[in-house]
Each structure stands twice: as C-alpha cells, then as structure tokens.
C-alpha cells in the first residue's frame, strides 16, 4: 500500500467511519420495515391474508385456486410483514391475472421482492392450468434496506413463456430492456415495479434507473 498524503489519508479514515455507521444501521430490525415507513402505504399495499379478496382481478386458471400448504416453500423462516403492492399490478400481455410484486423483510433485515400473479386476493402463479398460491416463505430477491440503487431481478417462466423484470426501485422511473425490447416503468409504492415481456428470452436484461451504472440481472 502506498503512503497517502494527509488529505487523502484522512478521507480514508472518514470513509471507514462512515462504513462503520452504515454497518450499524443495517443490522436486522425486528419490527418489520413496513411499519417504519413514514409515508402512507395503506392505499397501495394489500396484506395477503386468508380469504382476502380486496382487489378486483381478471380471473385466470381453471377451477378454484390451490392454497399453499405449510412447508411448501424453501423452508426459510417465515418473513415479517409480507405485503403485495397492489399498485404494482401490471396486466399480462396476453391474458390471465395481472402480475404484481410482493415485498417483505427477511431475518437479516434486508428488503426482498417476489413476483407473482394476483387472483382473488391471493398472490401466486399458474401451474398446469391451476392458480397456486405462493407460500409466505417462498424465497425472493433481497438487498440492503438502505438502498440507493434499484434492486432488480429477472425471472423466466415457461408456461406461459414470459420474461419478468421486477424489483424495488430507487428512482422515479426505471428503463428496462430485454435484448432490443425496451420499456419504461413508473414504480408504485415502496418502489415496486414489474415489467412483463412475452417469451422466456435469454437476451441480456438491462435495468437503468439513472442512479449509476445500468444493472444486468441474470
């Protein structure tokens, strides 16, 4: 390591102090991040509860929805305060229930996002022609709570074939591209957004919120 002059050396020490403060702040909170927020979220967050049907939905999938059984998920500890951001609901380009984002805080204090469909107040996905609720402990994509760049992920579904780019934005608009196909989305409450492309494309995905280098979720 080279010897730095006083101004740069001092700045390095101050950066270390800022890193210490950042690590202290990011330690897990136990109250659930949704209650910590200072802006009204009741209008945009639907808490998924047994039998809830507060959202007017396009019906999809044959027959009644299949409810999740305990232990259907990845076996992670049940997260705190999962909530579907109803305002993130985005129509499917062809048919079926709209897509939306569910958010929660994991036990490491990270913010997490999942993507699924909304039907009759339930959050899930269509499998083999039936709508199946996604269990509360299904894994999501997580990032630090104090984020300054968008948390973005991509999921490719086979039936029907869709490429879903979703996450929690740190900006007022997000540009998304899958190969040559582009979209701009205005995030809903908590920064939740989802963009739906037809086809399960392997083309490169780019998410640009203008806050730094574009991201390329895999």
């Amino acid at each position: 390591m080279t010897d730095l002059p006083p101004g740069l050396e001092d700045f390095g020490a101050r950066l270390r102090g800022a890193a210490e403060a950042d690590i202290r702040r990011s330690r897990p909170r136990h109250r659930g991040f949704l209650r910590d927020l200072g802006f009204p979220i009741a209008a945009t967050v639907l808490t998924v509860a047994a039998g809830a049907s507060a959202v007017s939905l396009i019906d999809g999938g044959k027959g009644p929805p299949i409810r999740a059984e305990r232990g259907d998920g990845a076996g992670l500890q049940a997260p705190k305060d999962p909530g579907v951001v109803a305002a993130s609901a985005t129509p499917d380009p062809v048919d079926g229930p709209p897509w939306a984002v569910r958010v929660y805080t994991n036990d490491r204090g990270e913010e997490c996002a999942q993507v699924g469909r909304l039907r009759a107040g339930l959050f899930g996905q269509i499998q083999n022609g039936r709508f199946r609720e996604l269990p509360p402990d299904a894994p999501g994509t997580c990032g630090p709570a104090a984020r300054t760049q968008t948390l973005a992920a991509v999921e490719r579904r086979a039936d029907p074939p869709r490429t879903l780019v979703f996450g929690l934005a740190a900006a007022r608009s997000v540009n998304v591209s899958v190969g040559s196909r582009k979209a701009r989305v205005t995030p809903a409450g908590l920064g939740a957004f989802v963009v739906v492309f037809q086809g399960a494309s392997r083309a490169p995905v780019v998410v640009d919120d203008g806050n730094g280098p574009p991201q390329r979720p895999q």
């Binding site: 390591m1 270390r16 210490e20 690590i23």
Partner: protein, 196 residues
C-alpha cells in the same frame, strides 16, 4: 501504472469483505485511490477537481458495495472505475462535481493540502505528459498547430485569426477542428496507459 498490492483476506475481494468489515473498505480505498485520482487528473488536468471527483466516487462505492456481485479484485476494480467514469461524464455534462453521495454518507470531499496537490501532480507524471503533448503537436501540420495554439492558448477569435492569415473564418475553424481531433487521438493513447 501499479495500483498497489491487494492484501490477502478470507475473500480475495476487499469490496465483498467490506459489507461487514469497515477496515476492508478502508483497504479497498487504499488499494485503488491512486488509480482513481490519476484517472481523473489525466482527464481534467485539475488536481482539486480530481480530488473532489475521487471523493464522490468512493462515497458512491461505499453506498453500493453490497450490490457488487463479483468475486475477484479485477472485477471490483472494473466496478469502481465504472462509477468513476459515470462521475466524470456527469461533470462533463453539468460542469459541476456531484456531491450527493458524499452528503448522504455525511462526508466532505478530501481536503486538498499542498502535499496532496503535489502528490496528485506526481501521479500524472508531468514529464511524460509534456512529452506526449509535444509529440501530439508535432504530428499536426504547421497551419493546424498554429491555429490550435492561437485559439486555445491565446484565446484569439476566429475573425481575428482569419484577417491575420488572409483566409476565411471557415478555413481557420477547420484547421482548429482537425488539429484538436488529431490531438485528441494522439493523447487518447496516453490516457489509456493508466488503466489496464
């Protein structure tokens, strides 16, 4: 240009370790600050400006370090310089140094003591820079070199130069434009030396 040795840790990547270890972030800073300062100085020719841009770059790196998905020192270096490039382009577009990240993390930019300014000048290797500029000027035609020097260094107007040279303003503009383009291409090779 050497960027200094990377201290061996459990993770070879200082940035990954820094998510939980503040001393790792300070090591990350020490490993790359020379390269970042040199990068900005060679593109702005202003030591204080380079230090301001360096401060904002590392403040952003601190904020975003948990989002880094690489594992190797080369990857963290590339990630850091992507942030640095972004800051440089913002400066070119706005004419001002962004300080938003510094404010968010509660820091001021590095203080530029005289020792820091001398350090920055040593980083840009002034004799090599002079040699590069002389060589680049020598690659111009006589007319282009004269036009560029009069316009850029003496800040003479095109109209004034046209009258003195007995040519149209358009001709003078063309000589300056082509001369600057040629200089840019020649000096571009010099700037590329600082980052492999």
């Amino acid at each position: 240009m050497s960027l200094g040795p990377i201290r061996r840790r459990k993770s070879p990547c200082l940035l990954v370790a820094s998510v939980q270890d503040p001393s790792a972030f300070q090591d990350f800073y020490r490993a790359y600050v020379d390269g970042v300062v040199a990068y900005f100085t060679r593109r702005t020719f202003d030591a204080e400006l380079a230090l301001d841009l360096t401060g904002e770059t590392f403040a952003l790196a601190l904020e975003r370090r948990a989002q880094f998905r690489g594992r190797l020192p080369q990857e963290e270096q590339g990630w850091l310089f992507a942030i640095a490039r972004s800051q440089l382009y913002r400066y070119y577009r706005s004419g001002e140094v962004e300080r938003a990240a510094l404010q968010r993390v509660g820091l001021d930019a590095p203080h530029a003591t005289s020792a820091d300014l001398e350090y920055v000048e040593r980083l840009i290797d002034r004799p090599a820079l002079h040699a590069a500029v002389r060589e680049a000027l020598a690659s111009l035609t006589t007319d282009q070199a004269f036009a560029v020097c009069q316009r850029v260094l003496e800040e003479r107007s095109y109209a004034e130069m046209a009258i003195e040279l007995g040519v149209s303003e358009q001709v003078v503009r063309a000589r300056v434009s082509r001369g600057l383009k040629q200089l840019g291409e020649k000096l571009g090779d010099y700037r590329l030396q600082d980052i492999a």
